[in-house]
C-alpha cells in the first residue's frame, strides 16, 4: 500500500515538475497565444453588471447584455439605467481595418455609424473603453516579451504593434500558468515631455474570479481602476453561455434595432 502511495506521489510530482519545466520553457509568444486561446469561443452570451465607484466611494451601476461571435462580431444591448435602456451597439469586423461600429438610439429610431476614434472613449462612463469590452486578442495587437516570473505567474510585457489602433501603448500582464488567464493587467500610455517619451500607468485591471465554462477558463469578475481619475469599475459576468451556435443574423442592423 505504502509502495502504491509512493509511486502515485512520484508520478504526480514528476507531472508537476514536467509541467513547470514546460511552462518555464514557453516563449512569450506561446504564453500569449495560449492566453488568447482560452477565450477563443465560437460564440458567447453573458449579462454584465458594472458597478462604478468614485473616489468618495459613491456607487452607481450599469447592466448590459453581450453577444459575441468569434473575435469579429459583438452586439451589446443596454438594459439599465433607464435613460439608456434599449440602446444597442454593434461591432462588425472588430479589430480589423474594416471595423464597423453602429449605435442604435431608440429615442430617434436611428442607427448611427460610429467613428473609429470613439472606441477609445469610456464605455457608458465606466473605466472600460468600448475597445476593452469583448476584446481580448492580445497577440493581434501587441508584441510580447517575457519578464521574470512573479509569485508563480508568468509576466509579459506587451508593446503595441505599429499598425495597431488599440488605445494603450504597453501592457504588463500577469498570467496564471495553470489556466492561462490574466490575473492582473497594467495598461500604459506613452507620455511625451520635451521630446522624451515614457510610459505612464493609466489603468490596472485585476481579475477576482475565474470560472470554468465548458472547456474555457473565463474571468467572471474583474476590477478596472483608473489611476488618474481615482475611479474604478467592477465588472461581473452572469448567465454565461458559450458555443451555443449563435446565428450570424443576430449580428446585423436588423437585430440591432429589435
Amino acid at each position: 500500500m505504502l509502495f502504491l502511495i509512493l509511486v502515485a506521489g512520484t508520478i504526480i510530482f514528476a507531472e508537476e515538475t514536467i509541467k513547470k519545466t514546460q511552462a518555464k520553457e514557453l516563449t512569450a509568444r506561446e504564453i500569449l497565444e495560449k492566453t488568447d486561446a482560452q477565450n477563443d469561443t465560437r460564440d458567447q452570451f453573458s449579462q454584465i453588471k458594472m458597478t462604478l465607484i468614485d473616489k468618495s466611494s459613491k456607487e452607481s451601476s450599469r447592466k448590459v447584455t453581450l453577444w459575441t461571435k468569434g473575435d469579429r462580431k459583438r452586439l451589446i444591448k443596454f438594459l439599465a439605467p433607464a435613460d439608456v435602456k434599449g440602446v444597442g451597439f454593434l461591432v462588425l469586423d472588430a479589430d480589423t481595418p474594416e471595423e464597423k461600429m453602429y449605435l442604435y438610439l431608440p429615442a430617434y429610431k436611428k442607427i448611427r455609424r460610429i467613428a473609429g476614434s470613439a472606441k477609445r472613449g469610456s464605455f457608458m462612463g465606466t473605466d472600460f473603453s468600448y475597445d476593452d469590452i469583448g476584446s481580448s486578442n492580445y497577440s493581434q495587437d501587441y508584441d510580447p516579451e517575457r519578464l521574470p516570473d512573479e509569485e508563480h505567474q508568468f509576466v509579459l510585457e506587451l508593446k503595441k504593434k505599429k499598425d495597431s489602433e488599440v488605445g494603450y501603448d504597453k501592457l504588463i500582464a500577469w498570467i496564471s500558468p495553470e489556466v492561462f488567464v490574466p490575473t492582473k493587467v497594467e495598461f500604459y500610455k506613452i507620455k511625451r515631455v520635451e521630446e522624451k517619451e515614457s510610459f505612464e500607468l493609466a489603468k490596472i485591471m485585476t481579475v477576482e474570479k475565474i470560472e470554468n465554462i465548458k472547456k474555457y477558463w473565463m474571468p467572471t469578475k474583474l476590477v478596472m481602476e483608473n489611476i488618474d481619475k481615482e475611479h474604478k469599475t467592477i465588472l461581473e459576468l452572469d448567465q454565461i453561455e458559450v458555443d451555443r451556435g449563435l446565428s450570424d443574423e443576430l449580428f446585423t442592423l436588423r437585430y440591432l434595432q429589435r
Partner: protein, 445 residues
C-alpha cells in the same frame, strides 16, 4: 362642438386607448415593460425683459410589449403642463383645465410583425418615426415625417406619423418601402407669424401701409391619390454604408403660394396670403463611414418640384400687377465629420447647403459645429454649439453653450443659453427674439 370641447374629447379618447392598450398587453402572455421620464423645462427670454417662454413639466410614458418572437407593440405618450394659465375671461377662473391646462401627445404607437410577409421582411405599422439619412440632425433625405420647429433646442426634430413600413433584408442589401396615407404639415416655430408679416411688408409698394392681413392654408386633400410613398436601398460598399432613396409626396413646410395686395385707398392696402404644400419628388443618396478614426458622412437630395409657384398679385385702384416665381428643381446637401480625441474631446462639424425651409436655387450655406468634453468622471458634460449662416461672409451666428450635470443614475440637469444674431433680412435675424436661458431636469425610470 367648439375647439376646447373637441380637444377635451380627444384627450379622453387618447387616454382610453392608452389604458386599453396597456391593459390588453399586460394581460396577454406578453413580455411588457413600462418606462418613462419626468422632465422639467424652464426658459426665460433674454431679449424680452425676462419673460418666461416655457414653463413645462412633462411626464413621458413608453410601453413596449413583445407578444412573441414575431409580434411586438410600442407606444409612447407625453402629458405636458402648458406654460401659463389659460385665463381669458372671469369664468375661466372656475375651470381647472383653464387654470392648470395640460396637453397630451401620443408620440408613437405602432405594431411590429417580424418575418412578415416573408422571413426576411419586417413590417411596422402605426404612428412611427421613419428616420432616413446619415447626417447628424441636418438631414436632407429625411422627408417622410414632418418637421417639428416648436422647440429651437431640438433642431431638426420630426413628428412621427401614421404609416406602414416594410423592410426587407437580403444579404448585404436592405430594401425599405413606406407608405404614408395622410399628409401632416410641419409644426412651425413661434416666429412664423413674424416671418409672414415681414414677407408681406417686404412686398408692399412704397408709401403704402397695411390695414388688414388675412392668411389661409390649403392642405392636400385626404385622398388615396395624395398618399405619399418612399423607398430606400442600402448596402455597404468598400466599408462605407450607402443608400439610394426616393420619396414622392408633399413638402411639409408651407409655401407662400399667393400674396394678394389690394389697395383700399391711395395709401392703404389689405393683404391676403394663401399657403399651400407643393408636391415634390426627392431622389436621395447618403453615405457614412470612418477613415483613420474620423467619422464621415454625406447626404445629397435632388428635389423635383411640381407646380411650385409663388405669386404676388398687386391690385391697384385701376390696374393689376402679377409677379410669378416658380421654384424649379434643386439640390441640397450636407457633409460632415466627427472625431474623438484621445483626451475624450469630441468635435462634430457639418456643412449644410440648403436649410430645412429653403427651396429653389438660392440656397444658403450653414456651418454647424459642436464641441463636447466630459469632465469629472463623466459627471459633467460641456457642450458648445455654433451655427453660422454663410453667404460669402457669415451673416448670422447662433451660439449655444450648455452644461449638463449627471448627479445620479438616469438623472440629468442642463443649463444652457441661446444667443442669436443675424444681419437684417437674414434667417437668424428673425429668430433673434428667441435668445434665451434654459434650465432642464430629466429623470428616467
Amino acid at each position: 362642438m367648439d375647439i376646447k370641447m373637441t380637444h377635451k374629447f380627444l384627450t379622453w379618447i387618447l387616454t382610453f386607448i392608452w389604458v386599453l392598450t396597456v391593459s390588453f398587453l399586460s394581460s396577454a402572455d406578453a413580455e411588457t415593460s413600462l418606462n418613462g421620464y419626468i422632465k422639467l423645462d424652464e426658459r426665460v427670454l433674454t431679449e424680452d425683459a425676462g419673460e418666461y417662454s416655457w414653463n413645462r413639466a412633462t411626464l413621458g410614458l413608453k410601453v413596449k410589449s413583445e407578444l412573441s418572437e414575431e409580434v411586438a407593440g410600442y407606444g409612447e405618450m407625453k402629458i405636458i403642463t402648458k406654460d401659463y394659465p389659460d385665463i381669458n375671461s372671469p369664468s375661466d377662473l372656475t375651470s381647472k383645465s383653464n387654470v392648470t391646462p395640460v396637453d397630451m401627445e401620443l408620440r408613437e404607437a405602432y405594431l411590429d410583425v417580424f418575418g412578415f410577409p416573408f422571413p426576411s421582411t419586417d413590417l411596422r405599422a402605426g404612428k412611427q418615426r421613419i428616420a432616413w439619412g446619415t447626417a447628424d440632425r441636418l438631414n436632407q433625405v429625411d422627408n417622410l415625417n414632418p418637421f417639428d420647429f416648436s422647440d429651437i433646442v431640438e433642431l431638426g426634430k420630426k413628428i412621427p406619423t401614421n404609416s406602414i413600413k416594410l423592410t426587407n433584408y437580403l444579404g448585404d442589401n436592405t430594401l425599405t418601402a413606406a407608405m404614408i396615407p395622410v399628409f401632416t404639415p410641419a409644426v412651425m416655430p413661434t416666429t412664423y407669424d413674424n416671418y409672414i408679416s415681414t414677407t408681406v411688408a417686404n412686398n408692399l409698394p412704397s408709401g403704402m401701409r397695411l390695414t388688414t392681413l388675412e392668411s389661409r392654408v390649403t392642405l392636400p386633400q385626404n385622398k388615396l391619390e395624395n398618399s405619399m410613398f418612399a423607398a430606400k436601398l442600402s448596402r455597404s460598399i468598400l466599408g462605407y454604408d450607402m443608400s439610394l432613396s426616393y420619396f414622392s409626396g408633399y413638402d411639409n413646410i408651407p409655401n407662400l403660394a399667393n400674396l394678394t395686395l389690394t389697395a383700399v385707398s391711395l395709401t392703404q392696402v389689405s393683404a391676403e396670403v394663401t399657403q399651400n404644400y407643393p408636391k415634390i419628388q426627392a431622389f436621395g443618396y447618403d453615405l457614412a463611414g470612418s477613415f483613420r478614426g474620423i467619422g464621415l458622412w454625406a447626404e445629397i437630395a435632388y428635389l423635383k418640384t411640381d407646380n411650385f409657384i409663388q405669386e404676388v398679385v398687386l391690385n391697384k385702384i385701376t390696374t393689376t400687377e402679377v409677379t410669378t416665381a416658380e421654384v424649379k428643381d434643386y439640390i441640397k446637401y450636407t457633409l460632415g465629420f466627427d472625431y474623438t480625441f484621445p483626451n475624450d474631446f469630441y468635435i462634430n462639424t457639418q456643412v449644410m447647403h440648403g436649410f430645412f425651409d429653403e427651396r429653389g436655387k438660392d440656397l444658403s450655406d450653414m456651418l454647424l459645429t459642436r464641441l463636447e468634453k466630459k469632465i469629472f468622471n463623466e459627471k459633467i458634460k460641456l457642450t458648445f454649439t455654433w451655427l453660422g449662416d454663410y453667404d460669402h461672409k457669415f451673416i448670422g451666428n447662433l451660439f449655444w453653450p450648455q452644461i449638463t450635470w449627471y448627479p445620479a443614475e438616469a438623472t440629468e440637469i442642463q443649463l444652457g443659453s441661446l444667443s442669436i444674431h443675424g444681419e437684417i433680412g437674414s434667417k437668424l435675424e428673425i429668430m433673434e427674439t428667441l435668445d434665451q436661458v434654459y434650465l432642464q431636469a430629466k429623470y428616467s425610470f
